[in-house]
Symmetry: C2
Subunit: 503 residues, 2 copies
């Protein structure tokens, strides 16, 4: 298994990163990545276990992070003339049954409501696993003419898909997301929407979350239940596994035919709408955690961090309150630059405890402010991505804060990109393929496109096709010819495709 | 029944408001207020009927309005150091059973989930009717010391309470809200929180929604199921009925004892936390509709309106596109002032249709822009609250837009306040009481505080105690002594209290 490499900048000067991590109470990534994840989620106050099987409780810090994700994406949708709606959480059971692939995909995961008050329902409801069906039903009533199109809709909310083994943010029976749903008068327009959204997701991941992702199309066996084509963005976690961070589906006329979503064309003919759906869910928080975190805990990319700068007033009993007042003044200055700042004025805690607590929470920059610093006009500055503190003239530290945060943002993206590229292997034989997957790498290989071969590869290696990188993808896009790494047949797709184990 | 009085400003120059309303396709308020409401909701594109019994689908315009409500309140909570969390939608059935009053209040309205996938559940879940129970359960794990308090939490989401007769926004089985939940180390602190929130709700209604509301305490029989005290804000709709627009509950130690939410005090003793909960729901949209609307449709208060100014390019076929371009330029100017502006560039619709459509949607200001206006450097301006158009020099219309919107906001609040005061009657006999209620008024009267008497009054008149106005309420706060209008016993509360029929 690929180990998260000790980051040179972050680990500089540590003789034993294991020991240090234990001191902070988190299992090192190299010892058990799964334990590391669960402990960080809980200790950084992102989420807690829930008394409801399969679900989580998102705590204030996790909720603040999710709200920032929601806000950014919501603004982006609105800028692109998309409109939000609110559909009911319950869906009549028979709606789910109307699209054959859809019901097959979702039936085993459905939550059923069979009683309201004391009345047992003849026709039960399900908690939505996704809303294509009820939205299709409503659209059929709203749509008359090509003039009504496109419908550019989305909603924020939660959906329900039964999970046996819970993992906060990554695998929960109730999860949080937006689901976009659009209807168009032509296939070309719908396809353009699907690709526009995929590109938006890509930009969001790259520029805001510092997550390098590979844009590509899923193979038929990995498509969304009911889609004609599914596109995804895939990111590499620090254990080498892939995480599908967002999806955008072209649904063709499948759902519009199932729900009668039709319109009169400009030429006065009757036609079914061409529809799309797309989503990013709360699992993206898992991607942030597992792409950037280290043995000290989280590392929040500054552009999404709920708190970008934490100020620790460092004083003894007799001057602590004065230092808190000074820290508040400093915070006001930084907030004046539009930065998100927190002063840790908690009493009765050691400075060391506070440093570790905020490092665990991944705050990009820590400032320490003591009486001597105040006297000397300096600030002690510590980047979360660095191991050493700096002492800087106060004015310089303040005026340089935005640039410092940008630098940290850039560093995180570069580090994650390097990690992904270093841990992706190009192979031509099935032995190389298996060895690389076993070693926790992603694999680029030719494939014949045969679904049965995909299934066998999965049985052999637990790896699946992550996607077929698009021609304009930032990574792995080169067009090439070759023969299938598994069957030796001529390769499909005109390029190597991406395999890996996944979350 | 109190009729919505023809608003003098809005109706000026109309010989027949009924006829005009019919032309726009909405039943006049004076003919059937209920039909008027349902038609306005649907025709203004706020919400639509849903295939799920008891629920609604909120359409883009309704969703945009709700989002603005959410944004304002969310910012206010955060400014006051409250933190959002996300709790699961499902709650174990036995949690609901733990607080006796709570289960009695909610049992008849619960949605039960009895199956996940193919597995029938031995212990069913309910869809949350409200989240005190699961939050109490989680708090019991998070709380140790008085140092951890206060917990100042809230969440946005939907809750489920079965309703047989649906009315969009006012009465739906699934509705949307925030629920605030706080825990404190002392009763005094918890009570202060309850009152602080009530005051915030009051300010929000008055300053943003232009809704005059009466802050007061509920009588014991009208309390939230499980509360030690319930406070509400009550507004008067244009048919004279009351709408409870927000509630704030002091829960004492009832829920903390049921769920073991206890802490070590400063004096090292064990104590149960003092908790509160509070909410404003999507029914507040019903209050906006029914307080401000007239026979032409909605009237959106400018401070909450998703669109404050709509620009109609008025052109013939040969110059329509040019007018759209000019309208877009004008929109950009107004947006530069921070205003929310829409250009109606739809083709193939008459100007009259567009005017009516945007009046129905209640856009505060309409601008009309035609070739001659452009030539002459003027704009045609129409306030939604006025009946006549004005023609103004372009620069004046633009620079005065903010002041114009403020004026409309002030006008709506004043008109609603006048309406509420005019339709509230002070009575001293039960005959007067019954006559006033029958006439669709609110009644101010003395009451003995006896629950059985309240029940009889309700049986006789369908009116209930709306609330006991607080001493610092903006309306009806005067302290007075007297005898009960119903029983002749000495009055409780030291003041007249407010009765009315309610939504």
């Amino acid at each position: 298994m690929t180990q998260a490499k000790p980051d040179q900048q972050a680990q500089q000067g540590n003789s034993s990163s294991d020991k240090k991590a234990q001191q902070y109470g988190v299992t090192p990534q190299s010892v058990d990545f799964n334990d590391w994840y669960n402990e960080v989620v809980k200790k950084a106050d992102l989420a807690d276990n829930s008394p409801v099987a399969g679900t989580m409780v998102v705590k204030p810090y996790g909720s603040a992070l999710w709200e920032r994700i929601v806000r950014w994406l919501d603004d982006a949708f609105k800028e692109r003339d998309h409109e939000s709606l609110i559909f009911p959480t319950l869906i009549p059971m028979d709606f789910i049954m109307k699209e054959a692939d859809h019901v097959e995909g979702f039936a085993p995961e459905l939550f059923t409501v069979n009683k309201i008050g004391t009345e047992v329902l003849a026709e039960p409801y399900v908690l939505r696993p996704t809303s294509e069906t009820i939205i299709g039903h409503m659209w059929s009533g709203w749509l008359n003419s090509y003039r009504d199109l496109p419908f550019l809709h989305y909603q924020w909310g939660s959906v329900f898909r039964a999970e046996l083994r819970t993992k906060a943010f990554l695998r929960t029976s109730e999860f949080y997301w937006h689901e976009g749903h659009t209807a168009h008068a032509s296939e070309a327009e719908a396809q353009a929407e699907v690709r526009m959204i995929l590109e938006l997701y890509h930009q969001f991941c790259r520029d805001i979350l510092a997550l390098p992702v590979v844009r590509g199309e899923k193979t038929a066996s990995e498509r969304f239940a009911g889609a004609a084509a599914t596109y995804s963005i895939e990111g590499m976690m620090r254990d080498g596994k892939a995480l599908q961070a967002g999806t955008s589906h072209y649904l063709g006329q499948k759902f519009s035919k199932a729900f009668g979503v039709k319109f009169q064309t400009r030429e006065q003919k009757e036609e079914f709408a061409f529809t799309t759906s797309w989503a990013i869910s709360s699992r993206i928080i898992g991607a942030i955690i597992m792409t950037h975190g280290d043995d000290k805990g989280l590392m929040m990319p500054p552009n999404i961090a709920p708190i970008q700068v934490v100020i620790i007033p460092v004083g003894r009993k007799d001057n602590f309150e004065e230092m808190v007042v000074e820290a508040d003044k400093l915070a006001a200055k930084l907030k004046g630059q539009g930065l998100r700042v927190r002063v840790d004025g908690r009493e009765g805690l050691t400075n060391g405890f506070k440093y570790n607590d905020w490092e665990l929470k991944g705050i990009p920059v820590r400032l320490e402010l003591g009486p001597r610093d105040l006297e000397q006009g300096v600030l002690v500055v510590k980047n979360r991505t660095a191991d050493d503190k700096e002492t800087l003239p106060r004015a310089e530290a303040i005026s340089g804060m935005k640039a410092r945060l940008d630098e940290i943002q850039g560093f995180l993206l570069q580090r994650a990109t390097d990690f992904m590229l270093e841990n992706t292997v190009t192979v031509d034989t099935y032995d190389e393929f298996k060895a690389a997957i076993e070693d926790g790498k992603w694999v680029r290989a030719f494939h014949c496109g045969d679904a049965e071969s995909e299934r066998q590869i999965k049985d052999d290696t637990k790896a699946t096709v992550r996607n077929i990188p698009l021609d304009d993808a930032e990574f792995f896009a080169e067009r090439e010819d070759g023969v299938c790494v598994h069957t030796g047949k001529p390769a499909a797709y005109g390029k190597r495709i991406l395999f890996g184990r996944q979350y």
